[in-house]
C-alpha cells in the first residue's frame, strides 16, 4: 500500500511512503505574487502528478491519501481564512483528480496515535527524525515542521493500514 500524507497550507508539505516503505517528502509549492506567498496551483498539479507516477510504478498496490482536516479559527481574519480555505480546497481537488478520494484526518486523531497531544510544536519534528532518520537532513530546521507533519500523517496512515 502507498500512503500519501498531506499537511495542507502554504507552509505545509506532501509525503509519500511507497509500498516498499521508502519515505519521501516535498514542500508545498508556492509562488510570490505582489510580495505575498501563495500556493502555486500549476506546480501543485505537477507535484501531485509526479507522486501519482511514483505510486503508479507500484500499480498492484492501493494508494490512500490522508489530508489533515482543517477549519476556520474563531480569531482568524476573514481574508486569511478565505485564503487558507482556497489553498485547502485546491489541495483536496488535486488529490481527488489523481487518486479519486482522500481520507480526512483531524490533527487530534493523528497526534493522539503518534502520542503528540499537548506537546510543543517542535515535538512532531523531533519524532519524525526519530522514526525516519534517513530524512533527518530534510527536517533539521525548526521551520521544517510542515514536512514533519506530512510524514507523521503518512505514518499514521501506515499504522492505520489505510483506514480512516
Amino acid at each position: 500500500m502507498n500512503i500519501i500524507g498531506i499537511d495542507p497550507g502554504i507552509t505545509g508539505a506532501i509525503s509519500l511512503i511507497s509500498s516498499d516503505r521508502v519515505a519521501q517528502v516535498w514542500d508545498m509549492p508556492t509562488i510570490k505574487i505582489d510580495n505575498k506567498l501563495k500556493l502555486d496551483l500549476s506546480e501543485l498539479n505537477v507535484l501531485m502528478g509526479m507522486v501519482f507516477l511514483i505510486t503508479h510504478l507500484h500499480r498492484k498496490e492501493d494508494t490512500v491519501v490522508y489530508i489533515e482536516k482543517v477549519h476556520s479559527m474563531p480569531n482568524q481574519g476573514v481574508s486569511s481564512t478565505f485564503k487558507f480555505g482556497m489553498t485547502y480546497g485546491a489541495i483536496c481537488q488535486a488529490a481527488i483528480h489523481y487518486f479519486h478520494s482522500y481520507v480526512d484526518v483531524t490533527p487530534q486523531k493523528w497526534k493522539k496515535k503518534m502520542n503528540l497531544l499537548n506537546c510543543e510544536k517542535d515535538a512532531a519534528r523531533l519524532l519524525a527524525i526519530e522514526l525516519l532518520p534517513e530524512l533527518a537532513d530534510k527536517l533539521s530546521r525548526k521551520k521544517d515542521h510542515g514536512r514533519a507533519d506530512a510524514l507523521l500523517i503518512g505514518s499514521y496512515g501506515l499504522l492505520n493500514r489505510g483506514k480512516p
Binding site: 521508502v22 519515505a23 502520542n115 534517513e134
Partner: protein, 61 residues
C-alpha cells in the same frame, strides 16, 4: 501492553534496504530496530507489520 509496528526504510547502495522497525506501545513508548534486508525479507517484514501487533513487554526482554 500491545505495540503497533511502523516499518519505514531506505534503499542502500548494495541493493538491500535499510529498514527501521519502530514498535509504538499503547502508552506511547517506542523501541527501534534497524536492519539491512533483501527484497524477500523486506516483503516478509511488510506482511508482518500489516498483520500483527507485538507484545511490548516481550520486546523489552
Amino acid at each position: 501492553m500491545k505495540a503497533n509496528l511502523l516499518l519505514i526504510g531506505r534503499p542502500s547502495a548494495d541493493g538491500n534496504q535499510l529498514v527501521r522497525r519502530t514498535y509504538i506501545a499503547s502508552n506511547g513508548d517506542k523501541r527501534h530496530f534497524d536492519k539491512s534486508v533483501d527484497q524477500k525479507e523486506l516483503s516478509r517484514l511488510i506482511d508482518v507489520s500489516d498483520k500483527v501487533t507485538a507484545d511490548y513487554e516481550e520486546l523489552l526482554k
